[in-house]
Every structure is written in structure tokens, then in C-alpha cells.
């Protein structure tokens, strides 16, 4: 069974449901404290999947995810890059996304370029919601057809199920330039968008989540791990049995990643050994 590393630290609070989502998708979640990981960065090499969970790491002091990202930039950046290079899918919802962007993992190097040796200067920010408020609700979303993201591939969405829950105060995607958004869109690195009419935080180009050029690393403000059973849907009591016949989209995303490591990673791994 693939092993999923769930990184916890002071203030992380979505670790259990993230672990549960991996478990439902067929992986074995293991929870490791950031303090232990920073002392033994090589631990990361033992895992097939990684989750950076949501929450309020270090209270989101200064800005959401800032302190955790600063700590990881110093100690774990190289380990993450090594993991991506050996084909480890990484999911970073909410606070995880905020960390991943400031850590320099997202959006990552341009297509075909190698990962820099040192953590790069961030090229986007997740700033305070335009409303100035924390907001928890379900938003209509779409997965752009051209996305490279391995997590969202071929997840079919119906109007009544194309939703994901958000719960954040700092999720407004601000790119360093308009060019970045164009490039991300062209390269299929926009993994999740809020529907045009349902952008809850003022994100540029309705961006809800992006992936790196390999499609392995997904950072997103919504919480797919809170959409792994139908009765988490905000109005499941209105859905017909037909609408609920398939697995919920959140769980499908985790299944994609687990299937990816089970199938595609084998040859990749083998290729390396040669």
C-alpha cells in the first residue's frame, strides 16, 4: 500500500481529514511532525505521496503559512524537490497551498526547466480575501480541460456536484504579473478555477488552485479532503441517487494520485535504478 506523509505542526488542523482521504483512496497515511522532519529531512524519501494539510500553522502569524514556509525553505526544500523528481504527488490544500507558494514549490520552474537548487523567490501570493474576512462556504468550481494536474484528471463534474468547500481568510491569488497567469493557463497549470460567478476571495483569473509543470504538485484553496463522502455535500439531502452514483469528486482526486503512484511510478522508479 502506498505510504502518504502528512506533515503536521503547531496550528495544523486538517491533518486527520487529509489522512482519511488518502486512506479511503487506498494509501496508508502517516502523520509526522515538522520538527521531526526538519531534524531528519531524509524521512521524506520513504514516502510515495505527500500532503501539506490546512490549518493555521504557527497561528498564521505575519501571514498565512509564512513561518512554516520560512522554516521549510531552510531545511526541506531540497527534500521536496527530490520527492517531486521521483514522481511523488503532493497535495497542499488551503494553508498547505499558502506554504507551498511561499516555499517556492508552486508554480515551480517553467515547463522543461529543472528545479533550482535554492528555493526561489515566490512568484505569486495568497493575500487576504478581498472581503477582508474569513469565509467558509461551498463554491462552484471547474477543472480546466487542459490541466496537467494528475489529481484532477478525468474527474467528471455535474452542475450539482461541481463544488468544493473553502474555509480561509487569505486565499486571494495574486500573481507577480499578468504574464504568469497567461503562462499558467497555456501550460495547463491552472488546476482548479472558481466559477466566474462564484469567486469568493477576489483571486486573479478565478484561480482556486495551480499545479507545477509536472502536474504532480497541486496547491488549492478549497478542501477536496472534505468532499470524500456524499453526506459532506452541502445539500446532499436534495441529490438524487443517480447524482450520487459515482464517488464524490474530492475522493476521485485522491484516487487519481494513489492510482498514479501505483501504476505510473513503478516504471519511473525502475527507470531510475538503471
Amino acid at each position: 500500500m502506498p505510504r502518504a506523509l502528512i506533515i503536521t505542526t503547531a496550528g495544523i488542523n486538517c491533518d486527520r481529514e487529509l489522512g482519511r482521504a488518502f486512506e479511503l483512496a487506498g494509501a496508508h497515511p502517516e502523520f509526522v511532525h515538522l520538527n521531526r522532519l526538519m531534524a531528519q529531512p531524509r524521512l521524506i524519501d520513504q514516502f510515495d505521496l505527500i500532503g501539506l494539510p490546512g490549518g493555521f500553522s504557527y497561528g498564521d502569524a505575519i501571514a498565512a503559512g509564512r513561518i512554516a514556509a520560512q522554516l521549510m525553505r531552510r531545511t526541506l526544500y531540497a527534500s521536496f524537490v527530490r520527492a517531486i523528481e521521483r514522481g511523488v504527488p503532493i497535495i497542499a490544500p488551503c494553508n498547505g497551498f499558502q506554504m507551498a507558494v511561499q516555499l517556492g514549490l508552486l508554480p515551480g520552474p517553467e515547463l522543461g526547466q529543472p528545479w533550482p537548487a535554492e528555493p526561489p523567490r515566490p512568484s505569486a501570493a495568497l493575500a487576504q480575501n478581498a472581503s477582508g474576512r474569513f469565509i467558509d462556504r461551498w463554491c462552484a468550481i471547474e477543472f480546466p480541460a487542459n490541466t496537467r494536474c494528475i489529481w484532477t484528471q478525468s474527474v467528471q463534474l455535474e452542475p450539482s456536484t461541481a463544488l468544493l468547500p473553502i474555509a480561509h481568510g487569505e486565499g486571494r491569488f495574486v500573481p507577480e504579473s499578468d504574464d504568469l497567469v497567461l503562462r499558467l493557463a497555456e501550460n495547463g497549470q491552472i488546476a482548479v478555477r472558481f466559477s466566474e460567478s462564484d469567486n469568493p476571495n477576489g483571486s486573479a483569473a478565478n484561480i482556486a488552485g495551480i499545479c507545477d509543470a509536472s502536474g504532480l504538485v497541486l496547491g488549492l484553496m478549497p478542501h477536496p479532503e472534505r468532499y470524500t463522502s456524499w453526506n459532506q455535500h452541502p445539500f446532499w439531502t436534495r441529490l438524487s441517487p443517480a447524482e450520487m452514483s459515482d464517488e464524490p469528486p474530492g475522493l476521485r482526486m485522491f484516487r487519481n494520485a494513489v492510482a498514479y503512484v501505483s501504476e505510473k511510478r513503478q516504471p519511473l522508479h525502475a527507470a531510475r535504478k538503471k
Binding site: A10, G55, I62, I135, P234
Partner: protein, 984 residues
């Protein structure tokens, strides 16, 4: 390189959005100033004291404190460019959670120990400095905890505490006269009565010495109303003066612990035990076998399934919230969460609730010394939001009740639910266990919180008790929770728990936590071993400080190392303060090995003199609303409906609900807002406490303050409402546990105590009739405010009933939003026209008597509705509460985006009543259910003799209409009216 205070300012890049500035502008504009600012710019200020080079400061500014995309930093202070500016900084000693996180980040980055303070700067365009200061005082700061500057603040150094030199203070109590005792009690903020002071004096006479200060403080904390509930436990002589023969008194003979005296008065021995707890014990004796721990621990515990238990506690944090609503509410929820962590051998918190009672937001007559109601509400919401969200606990049920009598003394109820393995529901310290303090450091904050909360508020309390007010640090509590749960399920000792007992440091701090845990064994405490926030605290201050986020564990010596290792990995400070168990069971307090206090646990816990208190009840002469002699012209049914939907008690609380993460942990299966657009008010929330199981727990509350004129009827109505809410989502009414929270004006007034007795008697009657045992409760009995000119504003007597009910299978839950056109709307339960205390009565009509709960039929109606729901015969269900049937029906229709045609001539009624009463009467024990017409005969077969009828049909018309044409309103207008009032 020298130690200096460096200042770094961080603000959005020009052209970037400034949501914080925009929010400040919104708040400023809500104040109704003559010349509000045109725009506001915000900046974060970091003051860093430490031996840092310019390069290091620049590095911190660039890498740690500034976002490279959206922000820019200035080292030092930028020149004010706007018309005015203000800066808000926490006062010295006030908890600044961000500063602690920044300090450790700086240490990790540079290896340098620094001290950090944070602040916020606002530059105001279009407002002069006088206006700016006004805005700061009213909307952006609270001078109880903040300093407001009108220039950039850059101190040369931070204030530092001076080292403490030990002095053991003896209080000359033995020689004091009665008058001197009273004076001492008041001036030392002990808030003890003369009888209590004399009992202490006698005790020390026997010992032949004067008490030391720390001993007196310990007794005052332990004996405070807040800690010991002496009113609820007192002997009460109760007298009823019945004037109206139609409204007889309560039948007293035969009630447990009640003696009817020859003069007609009744002596009640321990009100709590004789009413609320008595009902629970009678129900347990009568076969309810799922109550696992009631009234003895920090929370009440019931069985959830074969392996797990759930526990529930609701606390109030009223007085701190009156003075500093943000910190008061946050530390209120923080304390309640610790109660759950401190239940048995630690439960995991899985849900939070909050109920607020405040004055109307537009109330103008706000007395000196009170904060504006809108600010109180926005700040208590922010406090619960910031603490609950950071803790990762879904806040998913609540209510807000508006009444201007709460202006000086708002109520903040915070509840928390936890889950734990059934083999971990009890903990007991053993002799020789180490006393390990876990979590936050001890400071001077929160001193005298217990006695303060037991006293009455006055206009000068904000100054006098500012040290009782605190700001919480949720992350300290979250890391503590993580470490404790890890230690509870310790993997290296075979899933064993590393500690024998746990309790939280709430009111009274270490003094009450250790006093409680060491009650039977005694304890020896080395107060100098407690880690402090700053130097200079005396042993007494350490002992009674109510600094937040601290708990005490009793740990067998051989487990201490494993526990401390867990603490290190989780960044949780743990300190060994001493041990449980002394040779003679005494409490011994030491500082640097010098004895500073010694107390007999027996006297501490049993020495409180029993008091006999007088209580009377005289019913109000006539229902309150009948006062207006000339009834105003009544609004049309449609206008009344629109006004009722817009009434703040009824109106959508979306503004609050969406600020709470009510879905974290992933177990919220019925959310607080339901329907296809999330615009229906759910009656209750449902969670799945055990991941992977479809067994659920429904959570709801009942509050019927409108019936304040008779607390007996008010309490019954609250219990009935709580049960209705739970039943409506699919809870099993045979497995509902409830909690009581009394918030009352001063019960030194026999009439108020009489009102309390009536409410408590109703709790007994209601719990027994519904077979809903009380498992925990709390009271706060001094909620009134004395204005500068001596006027007393008493809160309405307020009883919150909180409940949780087992849901056998969450896949059978129903929500309140109407599902399909063609389905029928039925009412279950009979309606009468007793409209006293109803929201309709606010229009000034002759409202009549207060509604009664029928204790025979109420439980039958609930059971019938529950049977229909588990039988899959109900598509939606909603309880009729504030605003009555028509409000509930309208909510169902707009939540489901459907039209509804009603025929109210067909509803079951007790007497022939007018249409307005049919629409708006708030008769309890009524439910609206949506039924597929093909199931109607099966439904009627279940309901049999329970009053019911079909009263309408959902359709696609987008209108709410009545068969006889008395009303016809677009659904969208109803929805808009309901959404608008509190859409802040």
C-alpha cells in the same frame, strides 16, 4: 550591535488591495460620524527588541515579515501622508499571540533571542486627528487592552518585570470587626459575604494564627459563586404569591429535596440537586442506561457507541466579554474547549457552539461604561472565529438573541463537544503522581477572574478589572491538545495513557485546578517552578493567575520522561510543579522551598457555610405586552411576515456562520445552512464523531427568553424547542441529553431567586417528561449593570438549553428546505392563541397569556415526528419557533426555492382562533413536515391521535399564498427580507 527596539512597518504595495484598510473604513462608516474618512490605509507594525545588526533587520523585513508580491517594508516609521493617523498597540502584559510566533521564527532563522510586539497602523484620508481618535476608540481598539497613539510608536525599550523578592504576607484577620471583614472582602476583591468571612475567621481562630494572603485568596477563589455555585446549592425558602387562579402555582409536594412548610412556603435543600440533577438520577433509575458521567467532571458524558463516548459542556463568559468582547469570547471558547480536554482522561473536541445575547445593534441609549452593541457583537463573533477556527474545531450551532436589557451585560455562551474512548472517561490522581503543568506560561493576566465573574458589573469595572480580561492564544492551546491526545493514546506503552488525571486551569488558575485534583490526597506545589511570562510575580499571583491555555496532569513518576519528550516534539512547555499526596492530605504551597501557605483540603472544600436564602415569586399582574392601552393598527399578514423575517432574532445569521469554519474535521453532515443555495436555517447540526461510521450526533439549543415573565414556562419552552430542533434533523428523541445554562440578574433579590427556582422546577418537570437527562450545566447569577447615575439594568432571566441527540444513521437525516413541487406541507401539533411573549406581540397587539408546553402531548408529538423521519416518510422538517408557523413555512419554501400555497383553515387548533394567531402564534411542540403525497396515508397512520393536518402544497409559483387570498408574497421578497438585516 546593541539591544535596541527596531521598528518595521509592512504595508500593501501601492496599487495593491488593502482589505484591512477597507474593513477599517467600513467600521468607521458604521459609526455615523459627521465626517467619516474617505479612505483608510493599513500597515502592520513589528517592534523587535534584541541584539540585531542592520543587515539582520533588513533580512527579517524582507524574508520573514513582507510578502514579496503584495507588500513593502519600511525600516523605522514612514512619514504620515494622510490627514491623520493612529496606531494601535497592545498594552504591556497583554497577550500578543503573533509576537510569540514571530519570536520563535526569528530564533529559528537567526539564532537570536528577541522580544517582539506587534501593532497596527491606520492612515486616514479625509478625517482630522480628533475624528481619527474617536474612530480608534469606538471601532479599532479597546483601551482596556490597547494603547492608541496618533504618531508612529517607537519606544526606546520594552518594559521588563523586576525580579521578585519573597515576602510572606499575613493578614490580621483574627482581630477584625465585622465591618472590617466586609471592607477587606470588598477591597481585596474577595467578594465573600460576611458569614463566609466569619467562617474563615473562626477556622483561623481554631488554628491559632492569622491566614496568609495566599490562603485567603485560595479560599475566595474556591468559594466564589463561579466555582462552587453556592446559590444553586443553597437551602432556599420559596414562597409563591398566586393572584390569578387560572394560573396555579407549581405543585410542590412530592418533589425530591422539597419540604412544604405549614405556612405554605417550601424549603428546598440544594436547588441543583433537588431539581436538575434529581431528574437525571430518576431517569437513570428508570432505565436510561447511556449516561456515563453526569455533574461530576468538567463535562457530562454519554455513550455514543459501544466503544466511544461523547461529552458536552457549555460555559458563559459574560463579564469579560462586556469589557473586552474579542478577548472575552475567545477565552470563553478556549476555556470551554479545555473543559472537554480535561474530561476523564481527555476527550478530543469535535464541535463548538455559541449563543450570544446582546442589545439591538442600532440601540442608541448606551450607558457610560458600555461598549456599543454592534461592536460587542462583531467582536464576540471575531473572538469565537479566531479561536475556534485556529483550534480546528467546527463551530456549527448557535443563536443570537437581541434585547436591549443586555446592553451593559451581554451574554456569551460557548459550548464544546468531545469524543473519547469509553475506557477513558474517568481519571483519578494517585498519591505520588507528579504535578505537571502543560501549555502556556503564567502571567499577571486574568487575576481575579473567578471573583470578578461572580460580581456585578458597574460603569467603573472596565478600569478596576482590566487585569481580569485576557486575550487568548489558540495555537498554544492547539499544540497542547495535540500533545495531550498523543500522550493519552501513547503508542509506546501499548496504547496506554501516560497520565492518571487531567484538569484545566480555568477560573482560579492553579489554585482551583490543584485544589480540585488534590481534594482527597493533598498536594505540594513549588510555585517558583511555574514558567512565567515575565519576572516579578508573587507566589500568590502565580497561584491564582488565570492565564489561558494551561492544564495540569497527574503523571506517575515513571511516565514523566516520555511525556516531556512529547512536549518537546510538539513545542509544548511542560513543568513539574510538585506532587499529589501529602502525609495529612493538606495543601502545601512553597516558593524557593519556603512555605508560603498551608491549607486543610477539608476546610477548603467543605467549610463554606450553608446559607438559607429567601425566594419569592409574584407573577406579573398581566402579560407584559398588554401594557399598551391603545393597540396599534395591526399590519397585514404579508407585512407582518416580512417584518418578522427581518427581525434580528429570526433573520439569517449567514454573516456569522460563514466566518466560522463549521466543516473542519470533515464530519459536518448537516451544516448550519442548508438548501441548494445554503440559504435555509438548519434546526440543528449533525456530525459524525467517529470517522468511517454513519452514526451521528445532532447538536442544537433552545432559548425562549420571550417568555421571561414566567421562567417556569420559559424553561419548558426552551427544553421543548431544543428537542424539536434535534428531532427535525433525525435525532432519536429517546437518546437526547441536555445541558442548562442559567444567566440571571442578582439572586440576592428574592424575586429573582424565586424566578430561578421556577425555572429549575421546570427543568425537573421537562427533563422527566421528555426523558432528556441533564448531564452538565453552569450558572452565572449576577448579570446586571449599574450605570453612573445608579440605575440598575437587569438582564432578562435567561436559560439556554443545549442538547445533543444520537442519530442512528446519518443517511436518514433530513433538512428543512422544501424538496419538490407537489409535495404536501403538514403541521404536527396543535396551535392555540396564547401569544404573550411572541414576536408578533412586538407589533403591540393584545397578546394574551404566555404559551404552555403540554408535558403529555409534547413528547408524543416529538416521538411521532421522529418515527416518520426514521421511516423515510419525511422529505423536510422544520420546527415552528420564533415568528410562528408562517415564518417557518416561508423559510422552508425559500430554502428550497419553491412556491407554497397554504390553507390555514385546516390546521388543528384548540379553540377557534384568528388568522394572525394561526400564522404567528408561537405555541410550542409544533413541527412542519413535507410529505410526498403518495406517503400520506402511511404518515397519517403513524400520527393517529397526534394532532396534525395537511396545510399546504409546494409548487413552482415562486409565491407564498393562502387559499382565501389573505396573503400573496413573492418568495424572493421573503428571502431578501430574511437575509438583509444582519448581512454586515
Amino acid at each position: 550591535m546593541q539591544t535596541a527596539v527596531h521598528r518595521i512597518e509592512v504595508r500593501p504595495h501601492p496599487g495593491m488591495a488593502d482589505p484591512r484598510g477597507a474593513a477599517a473604513l467600513r467600521e468607521a462608516q458604521s459609526l455615523g460620524l459627521k465626517r467619516p474618512p474617505r479612505s483608510v490605509e493599513s500597515a502592520s507594525i513589528y517592534l523587535i527588541e534584541g541584539p540585531l545588526s542592520d543587515r539582520q533587520i533588513a533580512q527579517l523585513a524582507e524574508e520573514l515579515l513582507t510578502d514579496p508580491i503584495t507588500e513593502q517594508a519600511t525600516i523605522g516609521a514612514s512619514r504620515p501622508k494622510a490627514d491623520s493617523m493612529i496606531e494601535v498597540h497592545p498594552l504591556p502584559g497583554v497577550m500578543d499571540p503573533d509576537s510569540e510566533a514571530v519570536q520563535s521564527a526569528v530564533k529559528a532563522m537567526l539564532g537570536v533571542e528577541v522580544a517582539v510586539r506587534t501593532g497596527r497602523r491606520f492612515d486616514l484620508h479625509g478625517a482630522d486627528s480628533k475624528t481619527a481618535r474617536q474612530i480608534a476608540q469606538r471601532a479599532l481598539a479597546n483601551t482596556v487592552i490597547h494603547a492608541i497613539h496618533d504618531q508612529p510608536y517607537h519606544p526606546a525599550q520594552f518594559p521588563h518585570g523586576l525580579p521578585y523578592e519573597l515576602r510572606v504576607i499575613s493578614v490580621p484577620l483574627l482581630e477584625m470587626s465585622d465591618a472590617q471583614l466586609v471592607k477587606l472582602s470588598r477591597e481585596a476583591h474577595l467578594f465573600l459575604s460576611l458569614e463566609e468571612m466569619k467562617a474563615i475567621q473562626n477556622h483561623y481562630h481554631t488554628l491559632g494564627r492569622n491566614p496568609r494572603e495566599i490562603e485567603l485568596e485560595t479560599i475566595a477563589q474556591t468559594w466564589s459563586e463561579h466555582c462552587v455555585h453556592k446559590t444553586m446549592k443553597a437551602t432556599i425558602r420559596y414562597r409563591e404569591h398566586i393572584i390569578d387562579r387560572k394560573r396555579p402555582g407549581i405543585a410542590m409536594p412530592g418533589r425530591p429535596g422539597h419540604d412544604v412548610n405549614p405556612d405554605g412556603s417550601v424549603t428546598i435543600h440544594n436547588l441543583l440537586k433537588s431539581t436538575i440533577a434529581a431528574a437525571t438520577h430518576e431517569l437513570i433509575a428508570d432505565g436510561i442506561d447511556w449516561c456515563l458521567s453526569v455533574f461530576v467532571d468538567n463535562a457530562g458524558v454519554i455513550a455514543f457507541d459501544d466503544r466511544n463516548a461523547v461529552c458536552f459542556k457549555v460555559e458563559t463568559h459574560n463579564h469579560p466579554s462586556a469589557i473586552e468582547p474579542y478577548g472575552g469570547a475567545a477565552t470563553g471558547i478556549g476555556g470551554c474547549i479545555r473543559d472537554i480536554i480535561g474530561t476523564g482522561l481527555a476527550a478530543k473536541p469535535i464541535a463548538a457552539t455559541d449563543v450570544f445575547c446582546v442589545a439591538h445593534p442600532d440601540f442608541k441609549d448606551v450607558p457610560e461604561g458600555c461598549l456599543p452593541p454592534r461592536r460587542i457583537l462583531t467582536q464576540v463573533v471575531a473572538g469565537v472565529r479566531d479561536y475556534g477556527n485556529r483550534m480546528g474545531i467546527p463551530t456549527l450551532n448557535g443563536a443570537v438573541w437581541f434585547d436591549n436589557d443586555y446592553v451593559g451585560n451581554p451574554l456569551v455562551f460557548c459550548g464544546c463537544i468531545g469524543v473519547m474512548p469509553r475506557d477513558k472517561i474517568k481519571g483519578h490522581p494517585r498519591k505520588g503522581d507528579r504535578m505537571i503543568a502543560v501549555g502556556g506560561r503564567t502571567g499577571r493576566d486574568g487575576i481575579h477572574g473567578a471573583t470578578f465573574s461572580s460580581a456585578e458589573l458597574t460603569d467603573s469595572h472596565a478600569d478596576e478589572f482590566s487585569h481580569a480580561v485576557q486575550i487568548g492564544n489558540a495555537i498554544t492551546e492547539k499544540t497542547m491538545l495535540d500533545a495531550i491526545l498523543f500522550a493519552r493514546d501513547h503508542p509506546f506503552s501499548g496504547g496506554g495513557c501516560l497520565f492518571n488525571a487531567i484538569t484545566d486551569c480555568g477560573a482560579g488558575g492553579f489554585s482551583s485546578a490543584v485544589g480540585e485534583m488534590g481534594k482527597d490526597l493533598g498536594a505540594q506545589v513549588h510555585l517558583d517552578r511555574a514558567p512565567l511570562k515575565y519576572a516579578g510575580l508573587s507566589p500568590t499571583e502565580i497561584w491564582i493567575s488565570e492565564a489561558q491555555e494551561r492544564m495540569i496532569l497527574a503523571v506517575p513518576p515513571q511516565n514523566v520522561k516520555a511525556l516531556l519528550d512529547i512536549g518537546r516534539e510538539h513545542d509544548v512547555e511542560m513543568s513539574d510543579l510538585g506532587q499529589f499526596g501529602t502525609s495529612n492530605g493538606e495543601l502545601v504551597l512553597l516558593y524557593q522551598d519556603v512555605e508560603v501557605g498551608r491549607l486543610s483540603m477539608d476546610f477548603l472544600h467543605d467549610g463554606l457555610p450553608e446559607t438559607v436564602r429567601e425566594a419569592t415569586w409574584t407573577p406579573p399582574h398581566s402579560p407584559k405586552t398588554a401594557k399598551s392601552k391603545q393597540p396599534r393598527a395591526q399590519p397585514s399578514i404579508s407585512d407582518a411576515l416580512l417584518s418578522l423575517l427581518a427581525h434580528p432574532n429570526v433573520a439569517s445569521k449567514r454573516w456569522i456562520i460563514q466566518q466560522y469554519d463549521h466543516e473542519v474535521q470533515g464530519g459536518t453532515v448537516i451544516k448550519p445552512q442548508v438548501g441548494s443555495h445554503g440559504q435555509g436555517p438548519s434546526d440543528a447540526a449533525v456530525i459524525t464523531p467517529v470517522a468511517g461510521s454513519n452514526r451521528g450526533l445532532a447538536i442544537a439549543n433552545g432559548l425562549a427568553t420571550g417568555l421571561r415573565d414566567d421562567p417556569y414556562l420559559m424553561a419548558l419552552a426552551a427544553i421543548d424547542e431544543c428537542v424539536r430542533n434535534l428531532v427535525c434533523v433525525g435525532a432519536d428523541p429517546r437518546k437526547i441529553a441536555i445541558l442548562d445554562n442559567f444567566c440571571w440578574p442578582s439572586c440576592d433579590d428574592p424575586q429573582q431567586l424565586g424566578a430561578l427556582v421556577r425555572a429549575a422546577e421546570a427543568c425537573y418537570d421537562g427533563a422527566k417528561a421528555y426523558r432528556t437527562p441533564f448531564i452538565s450545566g453552569k450558572d452565572s447569577l449576577n448579570n446586571q449593570f449599574t450605570t453612573e447615575d445608579g440605575r440598575t439594568i437587569r438582564i432578562p432571566p435567561t436559560l439556554l438549553i443545549s442538547g445533543m441527540g444520537i442519530v442512528e444513521d446519518v443517511r436518514r437525516c433530513v433538512t428543512m428546505d422544501a424538496k419538490a413541487a407537489g409535495n404536501l406541507l403538514m403541521i404536527v401539533g396543535a396551535t392555540d392563541d396564547r401569544m404573550g411573549g411572541s414576536h408578533y406581540a412586538l407589533f403591540g397587539a393584545e397578546a394574551g397569556d404566555l404559551p404552555h408546553v403540554d408535558l403529555k402531548s409534547g413528547p408524543r408529538v416529538a416521538a411521532a415526528v421522529a418515527q416518520l423521519i426514521t421511516g423515510n416518510l419525511v422529505r423536510s422538517a422544520h420546527d415552528c419557533s420564533e415568528g410562528g408557523l408562517l415564518v417557518a413555512a416561508a423559510e422552508m419554501a425559500f430554502a428550497g426555492v419553491l412556491g407554497l400555497r397554504l390553507d390555514l383553515s385546516r390546521m388543528p387548533i384548540q379553540t377557534n382562533i384568528e388568522l394572525a394567531a394561526r400564522c404567528f402564534s408561537e405555541t410550542p411542540s409544533r413541527y412542519l413536515i413535507e410529505v410526498d403525497p403518495k406517503n400520506i396515508s402511511e404518515v397519517e397512520g403513524v400520527l393517529k391521535t397526534v394532532p396534525h393536518s395537511v396545510i399546504g402544497e409546494f409548487n413552482r409559483s415562486s409565491r407564498l399564498t393562502n387559499a382565501n387570498g389573505e396573503f400573496d408574497v413573492p418568495i424572493e421578497r421573503l428571502r431578501a427580507a430574511w437575509m438583509k438585516t444582519l448581512d454586515w
